[in-house]
């Protein structure tokens, strides 16, 4: 299988989908030159400036116009630049995109994709570092996926573009240059299909995106101590593959849920409830969580490191469960 990095895999997905379907277009700030993370590089050369549209710094209009276009027959792929700036288009995402189909009794479809480059790292500071997926998981009417590998990134983005509903795909900034095998043939990854990234028998670690890598690292470290960790990557949060989570818990009876965002009212908090609800009788220990403290992301490296969820915390949590 060819090896490519996460960003190139997303780029491939965009190219494949734009070739397949003339209704697909990309819009965002500075995307013609592939900024900010190279994902849209080369698209303008192949598809022209009508389908690869640099927009003014007008997030509300970028996202809102995409809804208008999606309602009337186009298939927009919006580059949010940094997911943090979705705050500047929150009405458009939460009140307009998420609710249009439902409020209008199913008359209107909204087949658009929001690409959300996000996440902590490299001292980007409080306005460019946040994990905001919980806001949208908590917004009925949006589908939400979070790839952790290049193959999943390509497969999920393709699925998101083809999906008849609005899909947010969270692309962690730290993953863009991570390499991985990507199938040579066109491969889609369905929504609602978790993937077991490492099989194990003692403890299930549930993680998405960057935290999958941390979970795999933790599993290596735990293996040296004789603890067998299974790493389950839900890949999409809405819809959620509950069955794969249940099957894993039925095997391991212990669960660590790891995420990058803050503790309070988070995706991990919700997943813990899902596990508790469907697997209560299987659990041999309380569910453990790894997440960031409830503070904004600080700039200075020692403080940023302090709030960055990492493998060591997963190891500590798993050890505790095994006691």
């Amino acid at each position: 299988m060819p090896v490519m990095d996460f960003g190139d895999a997303l780029n491939l997905a965009l190219k494949e989908e734009m070739r397949r379907d003339g209704r697909v277009y990309c819009i965002g700030e500075d995307i013609v030159l592939g900024l900010p993370f190279g994902v849209t590089k080369g698209l303008a050369e192949e598809f022209g400036l009508a389908r690869v549209r640099n927009a003014p710094i007008s997030e509300a209009a970028i996202v809102g116009s995409s809804l208008g276009a999606a309602m009337t027959g186009l298939v927009p792929v919006v580059d949010m630049h940094f997911a943090d700036f979705v705050t500047c288009a929150m009405d458009e995402v939460v009140n307009q995109i998420a609710k249009s189909r439902y409020m209008f009794g199913g008359q209107i479809a909204c087949p658009l994709t929001l690409r959300m480059p996000y996440g902590i790292g490299k001292s980007a500071g409080g306005h460019h570092s946040n994990s905001v997926e919980a806001w949208f998981v908590n917004t009925p009417g949006l589908k939400v996926c979070m790839p952790s590998t290049p193959a999943d990134a390509r497969g999920l983005l393709k699925t998101a573009i083809r999906d008849p509903d609005p899909v947010l795909i969270f692309e962690h900034r730290a993953l863009y240059r991570v390499q991985g095998e990507v199938p040579a043939e066109e491969t889609l990854v369905p929504l609602g299909a978790a993937d077991v990234k490492r099989a194990g028998t003692d403890v299930t670690v549930i993680a998405t995106a960057r935290m999958v890598g941390e979970a795999l690292l933790a599993a290596e470290m735990l293996a040296e101590e004789g603890i067998s960790a299974e790493v389950v990557d839900p890949r999409s949060l809405v819809p959620l593959d509950r069955a794969t989570l249940a099957a894993s818990v039925a095997k391991t009876h212990r669960v660590v849920i790891a995420e990058e965002g803050p503790m309070r009212a988070s995706v991990g908090a919700w997943l813990a409830w899902v596990v508790m609800e469907q697997s209560f009788d299987e659990l041999d220990a309380p569910i453990a969580r790894v997440a960031a403290p409830d503070v904004p992301i600080p700039f200075s490296p020692p403080m940023e490191a302090f709030v960055t969820a990492h493998a060591g915390q997963i190891v500590a949590a798993a050890r505790e469960l095994m006691k």
Partner: protein
């Protein structure tokens, strides 16, 4: 002055009138201070650039080399107790407002002695001690804070003003329009200053901005709108000083568009493939510092020896700030948990 509801004069006519009036023309001391302030910004940014590439400054930084005329034109027209709201490209704005070089340098180094204790960094700096209410990592967001600062000034009954800086790209966000409208509605003491360097990252001004002129947008809100040469610190100062006079006098907000040139990349590390080198070369010929220097020399306010002393003093200040930043401690990791709330006795 423009009456409420009256059409706004065309930018050029208005500018010419302001330039003619020159009621706020700076005296010799202030001219020399403005020259020194621009040089201070320039040297700070140039040294920050070197230190960034030497790996001493984390994150990413947006430098304002070439744009000093705007920062200092604005800063010199404000009092120390006036307020300033700034942008991601804000080092120069803070320096021009009288901020401490030490606290600024330490902050962008991520040190505990920085003005935000290392929590903010280059794009998110505030220094309340000089009324600098914050750089901003989110473009145009300051524009909607400004009417509130103005309201506070009105309700507290002081004669302060607030200036808010934003880029040409940021002027295409809704908060710019909402902030100008609300300020005009409230006759709030706000001076909107668009720093138009003709680029928003890789996107050219004319490809993103319908109508071209930011200043002309003032007409829609019934406030004065003027375009000035941002490479001429005195022109910026004259326009801002007039806007400040109006604001202090209760005549409400103004909008100034200062046209300037960004000599460096959008951020450090930007390869700038999207713009011709000639553009920067042309920009360098309009160097705001050289221009004011020529003006000062022409007026016999500055000679080579004096200029050398000024440069030397600034060099010493900047090196002192660097030494301070270098020798300052990093924050303790757990200081990440401090400063979230004023009041938090709970163990949650």
């Amino acid at each position: 002055m423009v009456e409420e509801g009256a059409p706004t004069p065309a930018p050029d006519a208005s500018h010419a009138r302001i330039a003619r009036a020159m009621t706020h023309a700076p005296g010799p001391d202030q001219l020399l201070q403005m020259y020194a302030a621009m040089l201070r910004v320039r040297r700070f940014e140039e040294r920050a650039r070197e230190l960034y590439h030497a790996g001493r400054i984390p994150g990413f930084i947006h430098l304002s080399v070439g744009q000093e005329g705007v920062a200092v034109g604005v800063g010199a027209a404000l009092r120390r107790d006036d307020y300033l709201l700034s942008t991601h490209r804000g080092h120069g704005h803070l320096i021009a407002k009288g901020g401490s070089l030490r606290a600024l340098m330490a902050e962008i180094f991520g040190k505990a002695t920085g003005c935000c204790k290392g929590k903010g960094g280059s794009m998110h700096i505030a220094d309340a001690s000089v009324g600098y209410l914050g750089a901003n990592g989110v473009l145009a967001s300051g524009c909607v804070l400004a009417p509130g600062v103005g309201l506070s000034i009105q309700m507290r009954g002081t004669d302060q003003v607030v200036a808010v800086l934003f880029g040409d790209g940021a002027a295409n966000r809704g908060p710019f329009h909402e902030g100008v409208n609300l300020s005009a509605l409230w006759r709030a003491p706000v001076v909107f200053v668009c720093e138009n360097n003709s680029w928003a990252s890789t996107t050219a001004h004319e490809l993103s901005t319908a109508g071209g002129s930011i200043a002309a947008r003032a007409a829609g809100y019934g406030i004065p709108g003027v375009a000035v040469d941002g490479n001429d610190a005195l022109a910026v100062h004259a326009a801002v000083a007039e806007a400040v006079r109006r604001a202090r006098g209760g005549d409400g907000p103004s909008l100034i568009e200062a046209k300037t040139v960004r000599w460096l990349g959008h951020h450090e590390g930007d390869p700038q493939a999207y713009r011709p080198k000639s553009e920067v070369e042309e920009g360098r010929r309009q160097d705001p510092i050289a221009r004011l220097r020529a003006h000062l020399e022409g007026a016999a306010l500055l000679d080579a020896a004096h200029a050398a002393r000024v440069a030397q003093a600034i060099e010493a200040d900047v090196e002192d700030a660097i030494a301070f930043a270098e020798s300052s401690p990093l924050p303790e990791p757990h200081h990440a948990l401090d400063d979230l709330f004023v009041h938090w006795p709970w163990k949650d």
